[in-house]
């Protein structure tokens, strides 16, 4: 069973959906593609008046050292997150489903290229 952390994009949804105090400028989530062939990953958030300014600010804030070749910005309010309180019910238990992983199949051990 894989215990990898959830993808960065999931984490943003909970990162800023909690903002309560109102700000004059809305909040944006910033995703940066570090190089061709890779996904955009959540880098952080920022306040900006509109999408264009958000992209420009994101460039200055998150790519001062060649960290990216492409930027996405998404209004934080547009993100819908899974319910953290429902964690167990929502994310089905992997228990008893080891057969979904290659490591479950041990009889082929020693056989090459398998």
């Amino acid at each position: 069973m894989s215990k990898k952390p959830v993808a960065a994009a999931t984490d943003t949804m909970t990162d800023t959906a909690t903002v309560q105090d109102a700000d004059v400028w809305p909040l944006w989530e910033v995703f940066v593609r570090s190089s061709r062939g890779l996904s955009h990953l959540h880098a952080g958030s920022l306040n900006a008046p509109d999408a264009e300014m958000a992209v420009r600010n994101a460039r200055d804030l998150y790519t001062r050292r060649n960290e990216g070749v492409s930027i996405w910005v998404v209004p934080s309010s547009a993100i819908t997150a899974s319910d953290p309180d429902e964690k167990d019910a929502f994310f089905e238990s992997p228990r008893g489903k080891e057969y979904r992983h290659a490591s479950y199949y041990t009889e082929s051990e020693g056989v090459k290229h398998l």
Binding site: T14, T16, V19, Q20, W25, S45, S82, D85, E86
Partner: protein, 335 residues
Amino acid sequence: MAHQASDTRASAMGTSVTTESDSAGQARFDELIAADQRIEPADWMPDAYRKTLIRQISQHAHSEIIGMQPEGNWITRAPSLKRKAILMAKVQDEAGHGLYLYSAAQTLGVGRDRMTEDLISGKAKYSSIFNYPTPTWADMGSIGWLVDGAAICNQVPLCRASYGPYGRAMVRICKEESFHQRQGFEILLHLSRGTAEQKAMAQESVNRWYAPALMMFGPPDADSPNSAQSMAWNIKRFSNDDLRQRFVDMIVPQAEVLGLTLPDPAIRWNEERGHYDYGDLDWDEFYEVLKGRGPANAIRLERRRQAHEDGAWVREAAAAYAARQQASVVERIAS
């Protein structure tokens, strides 16, 4: 399924009436902390934990923002184009650090505008180190070497802070800080190897910054009542005195490389402890500066307020432009 995260926030922020979900939340929180796992924004967390984090992260952000001023002072007077470019890059990084940290604080429910308000009204605190003036170019060296150096000592363990967004902001910041310290060290090295006047300028500056840099780690452990709780919550990983000792152990040999001395006659290697001993610090001065009676408190705040007010028309214009763009999109969709 989808939930409005603000609902969970409301309950977490609510009064301290212990409901069933609170005690379940507390149990889950304790479990995560005991396992040295991270707490994420939508998780239930004790009110005191949230408040401590809001205070610490926003103060940290304010420090980065105010910290631009003592160095920004020297951008127009940097001795060469190269040094000017380096200094601008460093000051820009500090702005970035402030913004990463404001974002981290925002995940706890505090607004950016409110934090700015609290800073310029004098309600919020920031690191007292930035209330010292920077009268000479050598101060750019001392700040990079000692102030950024102390900040790194403090910040590296914060990369493992139990609150996820704080730790992630610190990882990003720490990656950028090492250049800050090195460029400062280089400034001092060049001055120290320069003319007698240049070397004296470097020494005079180090003499002024040494003690305030050591005080950046906060009061001695015995006078730091909140530290124990912060350590229990895995926000803080080492005590103030431990970090200060680590810093002293680092800078003593570095000062030798610089060919400069540290203004503390008590510094001496202690074979038994395996650390350098150092003298007592003047904590009365520290508290004076912290209370706003330092040499540059008023100037720093006044300049920050002025910059905020001068920028008001830009913020308003940008918001008005955004609103008009939005309206014309709605119109186009409607027609």
